[in-house]
């Protein structure tokens, strides 16, 4: 029974097949990515992280943050929302067009949509349906915008605007996408909470910022000094009533600063060709028309859940 060479070859084939599949294949597919222009903008993405943030990546790696935090937002689908943003000059024609194109929409709903702009008219995942409606509206003189909304459980949790793609990790070495979620996903932590003091306080004593957090405290990245006559400008400012070390001031070491800089640099929120999305529409004003007076029905409605940037003065 001399099957040795055959067994060797079979084992070799099995090993090399997985090596090709897991190493060479992905390298050939994604290994030569270059920064690419964002959607609708000549700016390329991603920008390299700052030197401090790159050092922070090594701190992140050394402290095993990656064992509990992923940096991959998943997406299960994409919605298209056609929004009416401008009625144009011929409103009866627009109303007739809408009635023809959207026979399932009740008339009361249609009237309400035309009174309060921007109004979502159609939610679909089929682009041709959206295109037909948008063409009809444009031919009737109205203006509409197409909102592209990625959907998925991670996005509902507010962990990002779109799925994570390979380009998000372009300058990272090593790439730390993580594999389990004892804590929340960090792909967009810098966009979610861009407050440096918050990040540092949270690293020093997570329970001070998030009640019931299970994250281990990274006190060893900070210096605890007795509170002298003069408080250091670098000392952390804890939220009222949650100071974990009363009578002391907590100074972040360079390691803590770079780790926080890395966390703040985590924002994978650029619209890309491979992960498209678009911001909610604001009512567009044509370039040569006079600006719409505030308070009229054509004024952009503030996005749901966010306060208006400039609340109109009531006095």
């Amino acid at each position: 029974m001399n099957y040795g060479p055959l067994l060797f070859l079979a084992a070799f084939a099995a090993m090399s097949a997985s090596w090709f599949g897991f190493v060479i294949g992905p390298q050939a597919q994604l290994g030569r990515q270059q920064p690419a222009a964002m959607l609708g903008s000549p700016v390329t993405y991603p920008a390299n992280r700052s030197g401090e943030a790159r050092q922070g990546l090594q701190i992140y790696r050394a402290n095993g943050c990656v064992e509990c935090h992923s940096q991959q937002v998943r997406q299960t689908g994409t919605k298209l929302i056609v929004q009416l943003v401008e009625l144009g000059t011929n409103q009866p024609a627009l109303a007739a067009t809408l009635k023809r194109e959207l026979p399932s929409l009740p008339e009361a709903e249609l009237t309400r949509a035309m009174e309060k702009l921007p109004a979502a008219l159609l939610t679909t995942s089929a682009r041709p349906d959206a295109d037909v409606l948008m063409k009809a509206i444009a031919a009737a003189g109205g203006k509409c915008s197409l909102q592209i909304v990625p959907v998925g459980p991670d996005l509902e949790r507010g962990w990002g605007k779109r799925r994570t793609v390979a380009g998000d990790f372009l300058y990272d070495s090593p790439v730390l996408p993580g594999y389990q979620r004892m804590g929340p996903d960090l792909a967009n932590v810098g966009a979610r909470n861009p407050d440096l003091n918050w990040q540092l306080c949270h690293l020093f004593w997570p329970r001070s910022e998030v009640a019931g957090s299970g994250m281990p405290a990274c006190e060893f990245l900070f210096e605890k000094l007795p509170l002298g006559a003069v408080r250091s400008p670098d000392a952390l400012v804890f939220p009222a009533g949650t100071d974990p070390v009363p009578g002391f001031q907590v100074i972040p070491t360079p390691a803590a600063r770079s780790l926080a800089a890395y966390l703040l640099s985590l924002r994978a929120d650029a619209p890309l060709f491979e992960a498209p999305f678009s911001a909610p529409a604001v009512a567009a004003t044509s370039t040569n028309a006079p600006a719409v007076a505030p308070g009229s029905t054509n004024a952009p409605a503030p996005a749901a859940g966010t306060p208006p940037a400039n609340p109109p003065k009531t006095s």
Partner: protein
């Protein structure tokens, strides 16, 4: 009496090395595997996007991904047609042939197909005096019919004129209209053919 001697059992004789049976693989198994292989290929073809690096889940192919790209503000020729028929068509006719003693034709007109910078100026400020279109002299006065239109609408209607009724000129973008509007400024006078010919 000597105790019974236990006779050792004879060692089994190893007759030959075990051999793979020469029976063929059951045909059912072959068919099952072929069906599974086929299903795998179909699944790969539909969901695999042929290893394109741009395509991630939830998109199954580059076509599907392209369907979710934001629209690039293109020129809406349907809007142009609607505007043409409500504004220009009254005199120039809905089929672009013009009306005798009223308005020259657009179909095949050297003005409609020519320099966009000259064409944009005509609806912006109007045109006065004689103009030669398709070897016919027209002595007319056209008011500034397009002055009230937005850049997008004017580009749509001019592009419709340049691409309809057999016309095959390049469309006019709203940026081109915007540039001309900026160059014209606050002029309210109508253009004459000589002035238009001076425009490059």
């Amino acid at each position: 009496m000597s105790p019974d001697r236990v006779q050792p059992l004879p060692l089994p004789v190893e007759s030959s090395e075990p051999k793979v049976a020469e029976d063929a693989v059951p045909i059912v198994l072959v068919v099952v595997f072929l069906i599974l292989f086929f299903c795998g290929l179909v699944y790969f073809d539909q969901r695999g996007a042929w290893f394109k690096p741009e395509v991630y889940v939830p998109y199954a192919s580059i076509t599907e991904l392209q369907a979710f790209q934001p629209p690039t503000g293109g020129i809406n020729l349907e809007r142009g047609k609607a505007l043409y028929e409500s504004i220009c068509g009254l005199c120039h006719n809905n089929d672009g042939t013009g009306k005798p003693n009223q308005a020259p034709p657009f179909a095949g007109s050297e003005w409609a197909l020519g320099n966009p910078n000259r064409m944009i100026r005509i609806p912006l400020n109007g045109l006065n005096g004689s103009i030669k279109v398709k070897d016919t002299d027209w002595a007319l006065s056209m008011p500034a019919m397009g002055a009230a239109l937005s850049d997008e609408d004017l580009s749509a209607v001019l592009s419709y004129i340049r691409t309809s009724w057999g016309n095959k000129a390049t469309p006019i973008t709203s940026d081109m209209v915007k540039a001309v509007r900026g160059a014209v400024g606050t002029r309210t006078q109508m253009w004459t053919v000589e002035q238009l010919n001076a425009v490059q």
